[in-house]
Amino acid sequence: MNDLTSKQPLSRSTHGAGSMMDNEKLIAESPDLRTTAKIKRETITAVGVFGLTILLIFLSRFVSPALGGWDQVNTVLVLACFLIVVSFGQGIVILIGGLDLSIPALITLSGVLTASWIGVSGDGSWYLFPLIMVICGGIGAVSGIGIVVLNIPPFIMTMATGIIVASSALGFTGGSPRGGASPLLLGLMKGNVMGIPWIILFILFFCVVGVLIQSRTTFGRRLMAIGSNLNAAVLAGIPTGNYIISAYITSAMSAGFAGFMLVGYANGATLRMGDGYLLSSIAAVVVGGSSILGGRGSFVSTIGGTLLLTTLGLVISALGVPQGWKTVIEGCTILFALLLLREDLISFFSRPKSRK
């Protein structure tokens, strides 16, 4: 479908092909003297989000004297690790201008399969972990194929796969998921190495790899190109269909991996374990400064977004106010963060000096 639509602009653009090449040459040769280039928008967002998080951690000392220390950072990192992994996938899908609503269902499916197939004493069946990942990836591929080949809007397509997957998980378990976490998962979520929890080391590693994939690989850059302008990406010769499908596969596998982690954390699976990771993953990506329309965003800022949201949740739960007010405060703070990271405010800081 994309190839069909792309033919028209392609034939039109052949007329101006010569002048375009000249332009490109010109741009490539002239040195970039603008001062804006020194501070990237992404950097400002990332600094802003991380700054807010750190500020919040310091301020939380006033809420409770026990907060504001390494212990709290530790708790935030452990609680945020699921959201970080899920948001990596959601972020990639949002980057190409899509949306993945099947995440909660995939988390649940992966959790239910892990608990029942691998179970408590299942280090001998470690090979089932990759198998479950392949199943999740396959479901992501189905979503992606529906979106690319059948041209179904992403949120309808992923909603449909999500409902099918969630219902299959309900049918598979008959309502009560059996089994528990294998020693491998328990070790990952609860174990320590030299006083540092394994999960924190793991999540740091995951973040580094995630950032590299999204901003340093051809894969990441091409996804961004697709999100900025699909037609331009087609013109540039990117096999857009394959990339879009792989974005959904990535998101599904991230959700599946978060399912493993949740099984290790809660030592078992429930059919509602994925609830609460759909909206919060979208919120983390958007608070992290990514455009919901695609084409812009960095995983560094998304990590900042997840940490900000988790810290906020933690501090608010420590406030001695009724639940209604807690939710109001949470909403207001997210709104405040979004206002603070607004386009015009950022462009104010990164405005070229010459214009002043």
């Binding site: 309900l170 309502g175 009560s176 954390y265 933690l314 001695g320």
Partner: protein
């Protein structure tokens, strides 16, 4: 069978007659006996409690002689009152004889229930209740889970300490009843300080994460009062370090095993397991069948299910598939830790085994045992929970399971 009937109706009168003749030839007993059309209406499914409660009803409906008398259909409508109203509407339109149901709201369903009652449908609600007076409510809600468990915690803490309240679903009438009962006790003790209160949606994982958050701010907590999801609170404590604290919670297998674990006791875990039993659905179903078959004359009313109450020293693991010799928990690995243990009741539901609760299968060889003539215990009126314009008794939060040992 139901599909069969539908097909026959579609094909036409001749084949319907043929089908009737056929069924008459095959089984004379079932041919002249009208089957009761019973609906099992769940609001949402997705946790162990709901599926166990549904399986108990399915198992009883398949136990002789009810297997020949009952045509049971299950409808899961979701966590939205509107959807359950629509589900009730279609059951009434289908001329149901009875509906055994977990109602999602205590007030939103009233109108459609009244409509059903006028059409001759019997409504039996289990666990959650409705305020419509023409429905039967069978529930433990009025049995005082909140106040009794709160007093147990106060006793363990010697009347002073910092505690967490791990609550259910925000805005839900059941959560409010439990918490009101508990607070009525906690307020009597100035030494008891509620330092954190959070909604855990009766879910293990949510409880674990919310408790972890509260522990970050209050690592010096002395006790936890929890509704369902309590196993998550223990896990959060263990994630944090070695210290465990006295806590009360509901009936998950994991919590009961932890209470009885000598190592956990050494680390500070004490408490009691009480709360909502899935077995209520089976009791509701049996009562309904006795009313429908004319064996029991019972006007619509509020019926109390006794509060399960298992302190740490009374936890007793079961060796087999059933609750024998007063055992009340299954060994690790037999059922998941989120499994709700209170599925059996030797006096009310002797027909059931573990298989009934897990798979909805009847126990081989079992037959339905009649309930005792004087089994019904009337529940006290509680406005907004089981009646509309009524007054709660003055001693609403009186203690029934435990006495205060501290002043």
């Amino acid at each position: 069978m139901s599909n069969w009937k539908k097909m026959a109706a579609k094909v036409g009168l001749t084949s319907a007659v043929a089908a009737l003749a056929l069924s008459a030839a095959v089984g004379t007993a079932s041919a002249d006996q009208k089957k009761f059309k019973i609906y099992l209406s769940l609001s949402y499914s997705g946790n162990s409690w709901q599926s166990e409660a549904a399986n108990v009803v399915k198992a009883l409906a398949a136990t002789p002689p009810y297997d020949k008398m009952v045509e049971l259909k299950e409808v899961i409508s979701g966590a939205d009152p509107q959807a359950q109203i629509a589900a009730y509407e279609s059951m009434i339109a289908d001329h149901a004889d009875g509906i055994v149901s977990f109602p999602i709201s205590s007030t939103a369903l009233n109108r459609v229930i009244k409509k059903g009652c006028d059409a001759g449908v019997k409504f039996f609600m289990y666990d959650a209740t409705v305020t419509e007076p023409c429905a039967y409510n069978i529930s433990y809600i009025t049995s005082g889970f909140g106040e009794n468990s709160a007093q147990a915690l106060v006793n363990e803490l010697g009347g002073k300490g910092k505690i967490f309240l791990s609550r259910g679903v925000a805005g839900n009438s059941v959560d409010k009843r439990h918490t009101d009962g508990a607070m009525a006790i906690f307020k009597k003790y100035p030494g008891i300080q509620v330092v954190a209160e959070y909604y855990s949606n009766w879910d293990d994982r949510t409880t674990q994460q919310e408790t972890a958050k509260a522990l970050a701010a209050h690592p010096d907590v002395d006790g936890i009062w929890a509704q369902a999801g309590e196993y998550g609170a223990i896990q959060a404590l263990m994630d944090k370090g070695n210290k465990l604290v006295p806590m009360t919670g509901e009936n998950s297998n994991g919590f009961r095993l932890a209470l009885a674990n000598p190592e956990f006791q050494k680390r500070g875990l004490k408490g009691v397991s009480a709360g909502s039993p899935p077995a209520q659905s089976g009791y509701a179903f049996k009562l309904m069948m006795e009313v429908l078959t004319g064996k029991r004359d019972l006007k619509p009313q509020n019926i109390e299910y006794p509060l399960p109450w298992v302190p740490a020293d009374q936890v007793k693991p079961c060796s087999g598939q059933s609750f024998e010799n007063g055992c009340n928990v299954f060994p690790e690995g037999v059922v998941p830790s989120s499994f709700v243990t209170e599925i059996f009741n030797p006096t009310l539901l002797p027909e059931l085994t573990l298989k009934s609760a897990l798979d909805g299968k009847p126990t081989p060889g079992a037959t339905i045992q009649a309930l005792a003539a004087d089994v019904v215990v009337t529940a006290p009126a509680e406005p907004g929970i089981n009646c509309q314009k009524c007054e709660a008794p003055k001693d609403l939060y009186k203690l029934t399971k435990i006495k205060a040992t501290v002043n």
